[in-house]
Symmetry: C2
Subunit: 624 residues, 2 copies
């Protein structure tokens, strides 16, 4: 039996004496029974992945964690993230056995319309985030743990990982981050059951490997027999006794507790048939115990953090014609908005002097988190803060959010209230070359469920959109640019999400632009006007939802002819958005976009070469 590092404390001794380990073992078996019966009823699912973790989970929820089982959202509840989301039935069983979910519901697992889905989502009050895309839980947990510290709350955050998912780099980004910030209120538990989906994991039961890795990443590590409740409870008693995050490596067996499942190949993601389920339940039933009525330790009654949205933000005062890059306006806006809105926190991936989030960092260092060059974790930490009522603004070069595409996808499924701000978009960044140019970000961000995608052309629009991002609930992406652009809007202009601005009107064609190309469109309009050709120019600052009504109204006055011009690849960006939304109304969209692999060069050279500058617009208008 391993002893927890650090001094034994009174709490722990008291708990060890009081803990009824037989009861916990019995509850674990009850959780196994539920998991097996539910997956058999569903005809799909991962019962053996539930069985390996059942003892650990029983010990956590019925013998260790402090939470109000009647109110999963209570702000000082200990948090639990099932990073190995395929063990969902185990989590559902817990919340049935603690009385929150009616037991009969469990048999509706995976049925259409039931919130007990194949993998947890925040449709359930007890799931803060969607899991099931492996390796994402620890970063979110790190964000929660940091939020607890900031909010002066004493809840702990527990993350249950599978051993297979330890191969995901995102786990190590999070581990490094937690080590750096000494998040001793974060506990990772690795359910090392040896078997992956298609074969054994790389390290099987050589759990020294996991121990050495977490240690090297700045964690305290404890190893336990994951089916020995005493050991588990003892090690859990040491939570918070050190200044490091704690990793518990639990050596377990897939299918544990059932003779014909335990440690057997070929059972991943496979439910038992009725007969097998009956046999398994017969083995487990004799020692199974109900969790109903078991007293759950109450969370501490600390003051709730004040996290309410302000009614308004201070005014802005720009001068028309001032040259300010939207990325810089973003930094200014964040300081202004964040000054009035204490929910706002910010984080960056070591690009804060480029994204201008460093303005916020300098003003409000206690609300800023440097996440270093680890964009997956940057997004995960933001999601973690969002689950705790904060409004996180995460920034990096827009193209490096592509590194976190899966975290962003899952944040969409989680309906997370995160704000992503990507700078240095498009070929207009110039000399750094294609690896630094975001040319696919609109495609990616548009395809995130429930997302809002904003693309201001100048400072006033940026400021107003940052305000709205803070107020709008849901995942928002703000696309900022490197080049300076002139202020063209008055300080009182409003920029509703889903709107568009008509800046010039004509009859020949409607040019829809955004960001840097808006100024090319305006230049083209001026040149064409000198030749007596009038065009309409629309600023599509809201890419999703698109300012559909404004664009359609404009197009209807230009013979339904629309030219889109964008600093983005041809696919999935502004042009596709306009065509996809308005072609059914007969709008004919001619796309000007970056249609090949760019290279280094001056912004103007590149915009000319790829046909997204004023000259290209003029030429296209004339050709129509």
């Amino acid at each position: 039996m391993a002893f927890a590092t650090g001094a034994l404390n009174y709490q722990f001794l008291k708990f060890m004496i009081e803990t009824d380990t037989e009861l916990l073992k019995g509850i674990a078996n009850q959780l196994r029974i539920h998991s097996i019966e539910a997956t058999t009823a569903a005809g799909s699912g991962h019962p053996t992945s539930c069985c390996s973790a059942a003892d650990v989970v029983a010990a956590l929820f019925f013998g260790h964690m402090k939470y109000d089982p009647k109110n999963p959202h209570y702000y000082n509840n200990d948090r639990f993230i099932l990073s190995k989301g395929h063990a969902a039935p185990l989590l559902y069983a817990v919340w049935a056995e603690n009385g929150f979910v009616p037991v009969a519901e469990l048999l509706k697992l995976r049925q259409f319309g039931n919130d007990l889905e194949g993998h947890p989502t925040p449709r359930l009050a007890f799931a803060d985030v969607a899991t099931g895309s492996l390796g994402q839980g620890l970063g979110v947990g790190a964000g929660m743990a940091l939020a607890a510290r900031q909010d002066k709350l004493d809840y702990n955050t527990y993350v249950l990982l599978g051993d297979g998912e330890i191969a995901e780099g995102a786990v190590w980004e999070a581990a490094s981050f937690a080590g750096i910030y000494k998040l001793n209120n974060l506990i990772a538990i690795v359910d090392a059951n040896r078997l992956g989906q298609s074969q054994a994991t790389a390290f099987g039961h050589d759990i020294n490997v996991y121990r050495d890795r977490f240690k090297a990443f700045g964690w305290r590590v404890e190893e336990v027999d994951g089916h020995d409740i005493e050991e588990i409870i003892e090690v859990l008693g040491g939570v918070g006794l050190d200044d490091k995050p704690l990793a518990i490596i639990a050596k377990t067996y897939k299918g544990a507790g059932v003779s014909f499942l335990q440690d057997q190949d070929g059972w991943h993601g496979r439910p038992l048939n009725q007969e097998e389920a009956a046999r398994a339940v017969a083995e487990l039933q004799p020692s199974a115990k109900s969790g109903l009525g078991v007293p759950i330790p109450a969370p501490t009654n600390l003051p709730a953090p004040e996290l309410t949205a302000p009614a308004s933000y201070p005014a802005i005062s720009y001068k028309l014609g001032d040259q300010i890059a939207t990325r810089e306006a973003y930094g200014t806006a964040l300081v202004r908005v964040g000054g009035a809105d204490l929910r706002v926190v910010a984080m960056d991936g070591d690009t804060k002097n480029s994204t201008f989030s460093d303005k916020f960092f300098k003003q409000f260092p206690e609300r800023f988190t440097e996440c270093f060059i680890a964009e997956q974790n940057l997004v995960a930490v933001a999601v973690g803060f969002a689950t705790r009522g904060h409004v996180p603004f995460a920034s990096t070069f827009a193209t490096f959010f592509t590194r976190a595409a899966d975290q962003i996808r899952v944040a969409g499924i989680s309906q997370a209230n995160v704000k992503l701000v990507g700078s240095h978009v498009g070929i207009s960044i110039g000399e750094d070359g294609p690896s630094q140019m975001a040319l696919e970000d609109l495609a990616l961000m548009r395809a995130i469920v429930g997302s809002t995608v904003l693309y201001p052309a100048e400072a006033v629009a940026t400021e107003k959109l940052v305000e709205q991002m803070a107020q709008h609930k849901g995942l928002c992406f703000l696309r900022t640019s490197r080049p300076k652009t002139p202020v063209i809007y008055g300080n009182d202009e409003t920029f509703p999400i889903g709107g568009a601005k008509v800046l010039r009107t004509g009859d020949k064609a409607t040019v829809v632009a955004a960001g840097v190309t808006l100024f090319e469109a305006l230049k083209a309009a001026d040149q064409l006007l000198a030749e007596g050709i009038k065009i309409t120019v629309v600023d599509a600052y809201s890419i999703k939802p698109l300012g559909k009504a404004e664009i359609l109204a404009a197009a209807q006055k230009t013979n339904l002819t629309v030219i889109t011009v964008e600093d983005h690849y041809t696919e999935g960006g502004l042009g596709d958005a306009v065509a996809g939304e308005l072609s059914s109304a007969g709008v004919k969209v001619h796309k000007l976009a970056v249609n090949g692999l760019p290279r280094s060069g001056h912004a103007a050279e590149l915009m000319a070469a790829f046909g997204i500058d004023a000259a290209a617009i003029v030429k296209t208008v004339k050709a129509l």
Copy 2:
């Protein structure tokens, strides 16, 4: 002075005696001079990030690596990946000093039209892959190292990383992989210069942290003073002496060699002005030495691997009406194609029994690599194999390729010949729920520069498309489905990339579908026909390039009315592709797609709920 682990060998002693360390120090300073002058001429770039690595790079290229400087592509050259791609001028300086690039070219750095871009791309013969999105080099290097072993070649692969990029999870996916496969022909060199972009790295010069991490991930680790040529050369002498990959942690100073730059904050990504450059060069010049004429050790003359494309593949024999999921047909196709095409290798992320790549694994285990649950590395390893003339097919659930979105983006910039095969797409996977459903993959893959995106509906199309993926040079994505679908094409049908198939003709509307929705469209066509309404049904198996001509021709016979129906989100998929390409021709596209957050349920329930089934198509046709 540290001694290399393992026995000293004759080669090493001989080299130590022969090595002119003063010459290498002089070459390092010449590389510094070039890096400073080039970035000053360009007016942008990262001279101080070049200076920190100059000694290591000089030692590698002029005192250790075996390669033919006249033929960077020679198949048995040692490989070098500049993972910290922002130090590009240093790499260009090397290839000028070894005679491959005219020295005068260096001053054209970052100019439009010149291949010496801000970050390296394979437009340059000596860059196998694009770098600049940090943390990607080691995985590619691991793929190359594994390819060397498979091809029975003795080249080593050297990857130079910055210390900042060590925070990227992708580095640890690669490190774990290299440790598991004991790639002792892979050498990671960490240029630990302490300073990131916006602040110091998390660990500064505490290089024990890096040592402990690489050790825990299965590497042999050596620490060196990165400005001590003797130490560097000595440690390099130990390459291959162990059965583990070797990590060399080089303690360096950013801006090393120039008094007013060395170890100073505020110099990241900042070129020197003319006066500063002159001062820096004045400091470096006295000890600078040319690399021209320095003998470079020749690579071993081993037999070149036979990696040529076959003229054809064995025939297929399916029966019309057979029920086969496209994911399973993919596995069958890979065995058939790979049997005839020895360039083909395959890899998977522990989903091989779901993607059916396990068919290939069982048949050709020596050409299959299990990458475990680490999709970024899965793609990076595939890219590494592709650079060595193999045709890698990497598979996982389609939505988990989103985890590797940035690697895929950069593979596009690298014009890498990789084949990605994503299974389990869309809501038609059913019960597992949204985290497992690929609903954004078409948007993502379409927006990759130079990509080909294919989406077969049944087995024959899958087989033929896999053949073409093997023959087509460039990044291809094949989207396969979970449900079984009937064979509807004859064995001799051809499926050219960029084509589409018209399966029904009518006058009312053209329905464009792909994958599982094709069968809904056919069902709808039958139902409508029974009511006397005729529609055209098009199988858009080639999403990018789109079968534009076929779809337009069909639409022209249905009053330009097109209905697209897809198992993908509304944004960036088939509907946007058709609208984006054809709205300029007046085609009116009505999109049926997944327009909200899905949930668990039966496939049919979900397809009905989200309006992408036969009933929805019938209803839409009637409404038009």
